[in-house]
Amino acid sequence: MNKTFLIYKHEFRLAIKRAGYIILTLAVPVLALLAIGIIQLVSSLSETQENQLVHIGYVDEPGLVGEAVDEGYARFIPYNSKEEANQALGTYQISTYFIIPDDYLSSAVLQRYTLENENTTSPAMAGMIKRFLSVNMLSDKISPELMNLVVSPLNMQVNRVTAQGEEAIEQMSFANVLIPGIFSLLLSLSLMFGVIALVNSLGEEKESRLIEVLFSSVSVRQLLIGKLLALGLAGLIQVLFWLISAPLILQLASSLFGGFLSAIEIPSSFILLGTLYFILGYLLFAVLSIGVGAITPTAREGGQLSMIYVMLSFVPLWFATLLFMFPNGAFSVLLTLFPITAPIQNMLRLGVTEIPLWQILLSIGLLVLSIILGLYFSIKIFRIYMLMHGKRPGMKTLIKHFRST
């Protein structure tokens, strides 16, 4: 059997048996389901609370309200005087009361009384009182349609159009940004764990001299390509597992909550390009990790050094706000084309805008070129430093050794 395949098989088994890999792969859908469960629990609890009517008292000194109408989850109870209202509050018949003073129309100031230690009125409470006052003060003066507008005047929807003025196929929405955003985060996590695993594995093999036993049987190329393929496949399985579980979780979530979740669709372009960027990102980082694993004498030092490019790959996440504001700005395009930031950046950007085809092709081309060059140099570095057990070489020494080979 081909030795590269044997190494690939062995390394793949080791990779998928790693506790970190199993936990991360399963944790994402499990956490998503857990989050759905928690949201449902919280909403059912608040529903129960909402079903219990809030009793709010009021004293209408100028007689503005007239015959009051119950509003939503609150029952408004009129009192003739502050003393009466106070008594009701003290005996817990009401949870709070407010006084509409004589000068309310000119001052717009209300006094609210409560047994709780509250600094400000909660938005929910303020909303209920505001609605109660609007409805009861204006009901006989304006039409019900106008009343609805007064109570809720702004429901804005944004529509994306093409330069020709036609409606764009993909409309920007929070739902559309959500999935790419989540997948960018997952890719970051997966890349980080993958890099750590590879650097650790190479470091351990070097430290324990296992590398010598391996190289007495296989070539550097066979070992490294076997490792790369195994890690790549393990990463791919991970992302496919997430991609497959995502629609099921979304379906479950939207059936429970409806709303914007039901509007979420994972476009096929995102699945295709996202998977491609994921694989390329994984391979690039694996190739870089081989170089790092070769020049560092211990797994620990390798892990520390690899954090430089792992952190660099997170730049799109740090500047996500800027990306959302200017998805086609120069900085955004730069991150799209720079191979280390390209995988995460483009996943995020796919959700925000339509990336021009030339940028996608160029970024993929640059990524592939970086992987090929990275693999070539990493194998070379590995050949020079595979048996090194001392201090990490400086850049000067590295260049000198490179030239001599």
Binding site: M1, K3, L6, I7, H10, E204, S208, R209, L210, I211, E212, V213, L214, F215, S216, S217, V218, S219, M386, L387
Partner: protein
């Protein structure tokens, strides 16, 4: 055909020579002891032999060919330190490495069981290396080295971490492999191990050959003119003895050039002493090395 042939090997690191003009051969059915103190150049020589390092100059051939990938299946290498996956079971480890040497999985499993049984490790085959003692790990490493029936075996400090019983078992194993016609290179700084096992020795120091040849011939060449004796009572003054020293009941007598050991024996008989031990002293490899290293130093 010669199993290993190395001629005029040179290798230096940052201008500092690690191996200088080293030449030697190893034949099938022969056990060559590669000896020398730490840092002598033994490991560098082995790494060049296995193609881990490229020499600055010189020729290396394995079974008449320059080293290439397919030749690796005919080589078994036991590194100085444990080269095993700590979290993997012994049997999985053995089978994985045997597959990398091109062995058929079912044959490898059969041979693994046989070797594990012969080394008394069969019950530990499902144990992970991290749960084994250093000695047990070394035996697994040895099995990994020889399972594919290599024609050339390179052992770097194979007795490290072994107790006396396992050391003896390993020595017998190595002797048997030599008798089966394998070419074996045993690298160590423990010269007494080499004296017991090796046919020929290559002693190196500071990367250079200090001594190379048949072990018995070398020992004959460096034979000292002295005897070691243990007698009842006082030895007294003996004719033809230049110097004598005693340690734990054994007295070592340095003889004058014209004095023979027989003459000393005769004198002791005449004195009526009971002789418990009489030995013509042969130098150990260690003595020879110290002698040569001293000369070299001068």
């Amino acid at each position: 055909m010669t199993a290993v042939s190395i001629s005029h090997l040179h290798k230096s690191y940052n201008g500092k020579p690690a191996v200088e003009d080293l030449s030697f051969d190893v034949n099938p059915g022969e056990l060559l002891g590669l000896i020398g103190p730490n840092g002598a150049g033994k490991s560098t020589t082995i790494k060049i032999l296995l193609d881990f390092l490229k020499p600055d100059s010189g020729e290396v051939s394995i079974f008449g060919e320059p080293m290439h990938e397919t030749l690796k299946n005919q080589i078994g290498y036991l590194p100085e330190e444990r080269g095993l996956y700590k979290r993997l079971k012994a049997i999985d480890q053995i089978l994985y490495f045997s597959s990398l040497k091109g062995m058929d999985p079912s044959k490898a499993a059969e041979k693994a069981d046989l070797l594990l049984r012969q080394t008394g490790m069969l019950e530990s085959k499902q144990k992970k290396i991290k749960d084994m003692s250093k000695g047990m790990g070394q035996i697994i490493q040895f099995i990994v080295t020889v399972i594919h029936d290599p024609q050339l075996i390179i052992l770097d400090e194979p007795f490290s971490g072994l107790d006396p019983v396992n050391t003896e078992m390993m020595k017998n194993f190595i002797s048997r492999l030599r008798d089966e016609g394998k070419a074996i290179i045993l690298s160590t700084h423990q010269m007494n191990q080499v004296e017991e096992l090796c046919d020929r020795v290559l002693m190196i120091n500071h990367g250079r050959e200090v001594l190379y040849g048949d072990l018995q011939e070398i020992k004959g060449d460096y034979k000292e003119h002295s005897v070691r004796i243990d007698v009842d009572g006082e030895i007294g003054k003996l004719e033809g003895v230049i110097h004598q020293k005693s340690n734990k009941g054994i007295t070592e007598l340095a003889l004058a050039p014209e004095t023979t050991p027989q003459h000393i024996l005769d004198q002791l008989k005449e004195k009526g002493r009971t002789i418990n031990h009489f030995e013509i002293k042969k130098p150990s490899l260690n003595d020879i090395f110290l002698h040569l290293a001293g000369n070299n130093h001068e």
